[in-house]
């Protein structure tokens, strides 16, 4: 492949990636609303599933990180927490902690 072709191919690839990608990443709210089908709207739960409402960002973040690493055993939360990066966990913890 000539240098010119390589550059063109690289540019096309970058354009494609930009097309598929999103600026700014997944927000805490986007993740937070997916939690509410189990934990209740705004994290206020009825029944056995724990409420997230009223917990501090620090509490939520450390719980989620412990589920992610396996340090803490849950029934389902280990499987869920592994779906998020540390930044996403921090963002969703902030989201719940800052609900009015």
């Amino acid at each position: 492949m000539t240098l010119k072709k390589t550059v063109v191919a690289a540019c096309c690839y970058m354009l494609l990636m930009a097309e598929a990608g999103f600026a700014g990443g997944i927000t805490g709210r986007t993740i937070g609303v997916t939690c509410s089908a189990c934990h209740g709207p705004e994290g206020k739960s009825n029944g056995a599933i724990p409420s997230l409402y009223g917990m501090s960002a620090k509490q939520l973040e450390s719980a989620l990180l412990a589920f992610k690493s396996g340090k803490r055993n849950g029934t389902i939360m280990n499987r869920i927490a592994k779906g998020y990066t540390e930044n996403e966990i921090a963002a969703v913890a902030e989201y719940f902690a800052n609900l009015e």
Binding site: T30, A37, A48, T75, I76, G83
Partner: protein, 429 residues
């Protein structure tokens, strides 16, 4: 011209749902953006409610022919005698409280070019964006002899309501020592673990009240979701794998039901056309997307609706979004949880598009709990993302099944709590 402060005010709203029609004589004329939602199940209700929550300037009208919605989740619990139908019958009061306008009517046509929806009652609703969440319909006569009429003798009970009651009453009337036949459909279908939860909870009812009876599942599939958890539970609770098992699973080519006779409660399966005669016959037929999307040209050859993953916008008709069971959003399953998660992503995308913003990066969860008896629960869960190719995928390393040595009683309690919470979240009840 807009004064600077007014413009700033409108910008500060971020999501304003208003469109500037014209500016004349120093006065701006705005029109409210309109969203029509078709279908009042988990997908439609969640989308309608969340749009109003994010941007109360958008006018949302939900079209649904029924006054109430009877949930498919927890309808198997009724068959096991754990609940009654009233407890899973929901109204739309919570949506009205969110400012959603409910129109009780049936959609007869969608015109994506004029952006209009026609109703049986004669009204025409115009929209800026349309969200369609029609659920499933059945492929009648895909099993020879199984049509709408046959459901009165051999219920499907795969849309909850009168069919659920009919199947429950047949179980109550059945003799001890009778056989219940469940035919499980080919993929893809609504609620992948549903047939196996159903077999479990019917076996639970029979074990308590009619212990000489059994359940036979006829299934062309050779594997199903949460299989190792179901079979471990069946072994522990219902003698699965022994001569006295209350549940028998006939799978693969032998389990493929080709024909049935509703009156005789007879299912014919396999290359040898083996006859299975039941006292109760529950046929869960092969499925396709709800009929309105078939009429509206939103389905592909598969009978389901292809959509763009980040927005749920149809790839066949612009301005129309399809969510829930009817849409193709693999690898997400056709479940209430997935429908509600898709509805939230779609609601955000619709609000963004109506405000000339680019939709944000989506994230979804699915969780499906199944009960094997009132104190024995199992689950599957996944987190989904959009990958670099723009396709939906399970976030690598996330998701999976309940651990084999997990706490079944706690998961059963969570299953019940989940049901209450998703109903509150989706319907505002």
């Amino acid at each position: 011209m807009l004064t600077l402060s007014r413009r700033r005010f409108l910008q500060s709203l971020g999501a304003s749902g208003l469109v500037l029609l014209s500016q004349r004589r120093g006065r701006a004329i705005y029109s409210r953006r309109r969203v029509v939602v078709i279908g009042g199940g988990f997908g439609g209700a969640t989308a309608a409610r969340y749009i109003r929550e994010v941007d109360p300037w958008i006018e949302v009208t939900l079209v649904e022919p029924n006054k109430t919605y009877i949930t498919c989740p927890a309808s198997n619990w009724i068959l096991g005698g754990l609940r009654d139908l009233d407890s899973i019958t929901l109204g739309y009061k919570g949506l009205v409280k969110s400012g959603v306008k409910i129109v009780r009517d049936t959609v007869t046509a969608i015109d994506p070019h004029r952006r209009e929806v026609r109703l049986k009652g004669g009204a025409i609703l115009s929209y800026n964006r349309l969200i369609v969440s029609p659920g499933i319909d059945f492929r009648w006569n895909a099993i020879e002899g199984y049509n709408a009429q046959a459901t009165q003798l051999a219920p499907h009970a795969w849309k909850a309501g009168a069919q659920t009651t009919l199947l429950r009453n047949q179980l109550l009337a059945m003799r001890d020592g009778g056989t219940v036949i469940i035919t499980s459909p080919p993929d893809p279908y609504r609620c992948p673990p549903g047939p196996y939860e159903r077999a479990s909870l019917i076996a639970y009812y029979l074990k308590v009240h009619k212990p000489k009876s059994k359940v036979i599942i006829l299934d062309a599939k050779t594997a199903f979701t949460k299989q190792e958890l179901f079979t471990a539970g069946w072994e522990a609770l219902y003698g699965f794998g022994t001569d006295n098992s209350m549940i028998e699973w006939v799978s693969g080519p032998d389990g493929e039901v080709t024909a049935m006779d509703a009156k005789a409660k007879l299912a014919i399966a396999g290359p040898l056309e083996e006859k299975y005669r039941g006292d109760v016959l529950n046929v869960i037929p092969p499925q396709k997307a709800g009929s309105i999307v078939q009429i509206a040209g939103l389905t592909d050859k598969s009978g389901w609706c292809p959509v763009a993953p980040a927005t749920s916008e149809s790839t066949l008709q612009r301005g129309v979004h399809v969510i829930g069971d009817a849409s193709i959003q693999d690898p997400m399953p056709k479940s209430a949880y997935a429908a509600s998660s898709q509805a939230k992503v779609c609601a955000d995308a619709v609000v963004a598009l109506l405000n000339d913003r680019t939709p944000g990066e989506p994230s979804w969860i699915n969780t499906c709990y199944s009960l094997l008896n009132p104190e024995y629960g199992i689950s599957i869960a996944e987190v989904f993302e959009i990958n670099n190719q723009g396709m939906i995928q399970v976030v690598p390393g996330s998701g999976g099944l309940s651990p084999m040595n997990g706490n079944r009683a706690l998961e059963a309690a969570y299953a019940k709590s989940w049901y209450t919470n998703i109903v509150r979240d989706s319907f505002g009840l």
